[in-house]
């Protein structure tokens, strides 16, 4: 195993990226109560490739700074509870290769 590239954690993977962060979030949870009371599975915390969504016990935390702007959360949220926009022009993720 040791010979395989060691980006085993998502943190390591995210560290390879450049983000030009905006000061405000381009992602909004519309109703935090829906996450708390109507969504036992909180699947966005699993399928989001940047682990933007984290359940902190009582409230959904949105770490928009690490967002890949893929759109999965908007499409995959079973309650259509995420308002999804692009970050302001020039902001957000900056791919240098892929």
């Amino acid at each position: 195993m040791s010979a395989v590239p060691k980006t085993n954690t998502l943190e390591d993977k995210q560290y390879t990226l450049r983000f030009k962060c905006d000061t405000e979030s381009h992602l909004q949870v519309l109703d935090y109560d829906v996450c708390a009371n109507q969504c036992p599975d909180k699947l966005c915390t699993l399928f989001c490739p940047g682990e933007v969504y984290k359940w902190e016990g009582t409230r959904m935390q949105v770490g928009y700074e690490g967002c890949h702007e893929c759109g999965s959360c908007r499409i995959g949220c079973p309650h259509e509870n995420i308002k999804w926009e692009y970050p302001k022009g020039g902001h957000g993720i900056v791919f240098r290769m892929a």
């Binding site: 908007r74 022009g89 020039g90 892929a98």
Partner: protein
Amino acid sequence: MANHKFDVIVVGAGPAGTACALTAAKAGLDVLLIERGEYPGAKNVMGGVLYRKQLEELVPEFWNEAPVERPIVEQRFWMLGEESLFDMGYKGMEWSQAPYNNFTVLRAKFDQWFAGKAMEAGAILVTETVVKECLVENGKVIGVRTDRPDGDVYADVVVLADGVNSLLGKQLGFHKELKPEEVALAAMEVLDLPAERIEDRFRLEPNQGCTVEIFGDGTKGIVGTAFLYTNKDSINIGVGTTLSGLIKSRMRPYDLLEYVKNHSMIRPYIKDAKPAEYAAHLIPEGGYNSIPKLVGNGVMVCGDAAQLVNGIHREGSNMAMTSGRLAAETICLAKQANDFSENMLDSYRKNLMNSFVGRDLEKYKNATHTFENYPQYFNEYIPFVNRAASEFFTVDGTPKRDKQKKIMSSMFEGRGKWATIQDLYRAWKVMK
């Protein structure tokens, strides 16, 4: 830019938008190309295969100047078991020389070069600018509103090449919100590795590349594929699954990627390679049945925004370029007629659907859907092929005829003879 009216505004400087801007600018039209990223490519992700034919139609002999990585001389298909693989493929030296068949590319570099060609032809590129909405007047799109101060811009035609999420197409009511089964989520990494080691591991000579499509255990039974592509001095490795399948399996996309990287059949290819970039992106997988409304008064839709991806043959950027080119050709005719109505612009839709783009999407219109609804193709048949190969090639004193019998009966054992025949017929039907 407030008072100037353009002939064409193109939203998005990816393969579709840039192809459109380039074609329109070459024809002498006044073109504005708007990109939300810091530079074209900054927001764009692709596994990495670019086909030659459709770009050559826009930039003859582009391979002499474009930042391509390696021409592909070998395409492999792996049916992956947990600790095994059944390997198929084709390698041919006709692909090692001009005009080539396809290339690996890194999109951040490639898209900048391509947008540069549109600028050379006269298109104006504006980056770091988000188009917030289309401006509509009397049922006709007359321009766009950007996030710049005084950011309204006007044109005869607006081309939406705004990618898989196409918020603008949704704003116009051209498509409903995408469903999780209509998109694939791909997570990939670029891994740096010296060219000589890539060439040794993939049995290549300099300036030759190899692609590997991986079916089966790489997606842990979810509909999708993993891939391994060779760049000049890096490897792209990734895994894409339908978002619906990923949600159902409760797997994290980056955990699946780690599983692929650590798989015993894959590990040796990427040993000691250095992680250079991680990226995730959606791929439109709805195919023919998910194509939105493509044309309205003063507006057209191209590329991923129009869902133009052939998932079975991993074609997308080539279809995007063709759609962009065809859109521009229609705009030129519309300009001559000074008619930008839906009726006039509809010849783009007709030409697109009559081209290889529409015809291939039509051919495979039920494929992804079928493999999603009948998971046995991934869960049962790929492991079966691995077991059969292992059984047949293991010399243990059993006569070959007995081995054949055992393999056949194990094939029917799992699902029954009749179900197996139905499965084979269904697969043939969606692929034929």
